[in-house]
Amino acid sequence: MSDTTMPPAPARTTPARGFALPRVSGSAIVMTLYLVFLLTPIYWLFNMSLKTNQEILSTFSLWPREVTFENYMTILTDPSWYMGYVNSMIYVVMNMVISVTVALPAAYAFSRYTFMGDKHLFFWLLTNRMAPPAVFALPFFQLYSSIGLFDTHIAVALAHCLFNVPLAVWILEGFMRGVPKEIDETAYIDGYSFPRFFVRIFMPLIASGIGVAAFFCFMFSWVELLLSRTLTSVNAKPIAATMTRTVSASGMDWGVLAAAGVLTIVPGALVIYFVRNYIAKGFALGRV
């Protein structure tokens, strides 16, 4: 990122941002350094995914000498590999739907009403976000085994609700607070019943909030490994657990491992574009 690629200089030297004047080029340098720091390890993974194992181990080069897509082909043609992605997607989407569905009415209650114990309940929900998955791994395993849900997608989806439901409630509550209460009251006067008002009028109003909540549920369910690995063995095995397979008797299959890693970055990179302006608000649990 050079100076020419920065926003036009006049915009940055207006009185309002006058303090930024000596930083204009400095900022660009800082940002460039930071982005290079962020992207280099990812580039290295990408670089390795395009090499053969032989090239990885024998020569050290900053870019692949002979580009090969064999590693990707291995993954995309072998069911035991690509089913990992399918399984992950299934439970992530299930979790997203469950979390947002139950969180919507709860968030509405928290944003509109005071009721007995509401503050305590709100904090108690947050404590679930604080609960270390490691604490829950074993009990979850026993709970889901005992009710016959072990190694199913729904088990992982429900387990991830542990931290995603509180998160969804928090984010949605933040967005709902921004909707004036007069809208609710007008709708009730107009004769709307609560469910009809909620679905027809209220949900479209906080559509972006729902999108952001869904995105965060997607994200945290997608990146989690400990619980999803503990709760599955074959049928619902997530891609993250499948990746450990690359350790074989003949050593690590670095190329395939790198390709699998790159493929796990893709879904996140795709959806992030749509929520770029809301990421911070989501992380701040709707409190920016």
Partner: protein, 291 residues
């Protein structure tokens, strides 16, 4: 916004309560159950009272893991928070570059945690990784599987790589909410750059920064996957943090009683510290509301 009192709102919260009760309360009770009982297999349990808690409290292993965990969390907070603020101050304010930076910065946040581990595992290897190879070529002794310092450095740099963007994004959002009039007033008063930061930007960011610190503390205190993939808790026990130790104990050795007692104390520590953060945070919220 003025809220009305309505006890019927409980019905709206019921689905969440039912779900969270199923996925949190039942498992947590299982843990409590194990923590006060002993078993000799065959599903026969005996009341053990607080024996396991006493054992864990005098266990050097747990104290060491807790100590390592506290040091780790303190270090990454000390690096990520100032660095995140610094990056946020340097981000382009608007235009295409602002969105590009946002998207690129958020990228590490969406990578599955074990892949984050894999990335750094590869990146740090002296034979095939860019970082390890470069350090080796520079004559720096670096090997994260054998050298304690290298292992810690790798895990910390990895966490900084992974999560600084979160702090930066939050701080950036806080900065964006400052009206231009504030800067103009500071300009008229000929305030220095430092004064602008100290008296305008920092107070305005304090709310989101508290959230950032809370999130980073919680998540770093629960860290499992990334160091597990990179160092496996080693060399020796040098990077065995609380979660890694707990999983070893519960799923590896199946020491249910001690592991359960450990779990409960672990959870209580997080709860206690997070409660402090939360109280500070809500107080800040309230103060801003009154302003």
């Amino acid at each position: 916004m003025e809220k009305t009192t309505n006890q019927k709102a409980w019905f709206l919260v019921l689905p969440v309560l039912a779900l969270v009760a199923f996925s949190a309360v039942i498992p947590l009770m299982t843990v409590v159950n194990y923590s006060v009982q002993d078993t000799f297999g065959n599903n026969q349990f005996f009341w053990a009272g607080l024996e396991w808690f006493r054992e864990m409290l005098s266990s050097e292993r747990m104290w060491n893991a807790l100590w390592r965990q506290l040091v780790f969390s303190a270090i990454i907070l000390a690096i990520e928070v100032p660095l995140g603020i610094f990056v946020a101050l340097n981000m382009p304010k608007r235009g295409v570059w602002a969105s590009t930076c946002l998207v690129l910065m958020a990228l590490p946040l969406l990578i599955p945690w074990n892949v984050v581990g894999t990335i750094w595992q590869i990146f740090g290897r002296v034979d095939i990784g860019l970082l390890g190879y470069t350090l080796e070529a520079l004559g720096i002794d670096y090997n994260y599987t054998q050298d304690i310092f290298s292992a810690w450095a790798t895990v910390i740099v990895m966490d900084v790589w992974h999560w600084t963007s979160l702090v930066a994004l939050l701080a950036y959002a806080g900065l964006q909410s400052i009206p231009d009039a504030y800067y103009q007033a500071a300009k008229i008063d000929q305030a220095s750059r430092w004064a602008v930061f100290r008296y305008i930007e920092l107070p305005k960011m304090s709310g989101v920064l508290m959230i950032a610190i809370l999130l980073r503390f919680m998540d770093s205190f629960m860290i499992y996957t990334e160091p597990f993939v990179v160092t496996g808790g080693g060399p020796g026990n040098a990077t065995t943090f609380l979660s890694i130790d707990l999983v070893k104990m519960a799923l590896g050795q199946f020491d249910l009683g001690p592991a359960a007692a450990f779990s409960i104390m672990y959870f209580l520590v997080i709860l206690l510290i997070s409660w402090v953060f939360y109280t500070v945070m809500t107080n800040l919220d309230r103060r801003e509301g009154h302003r």
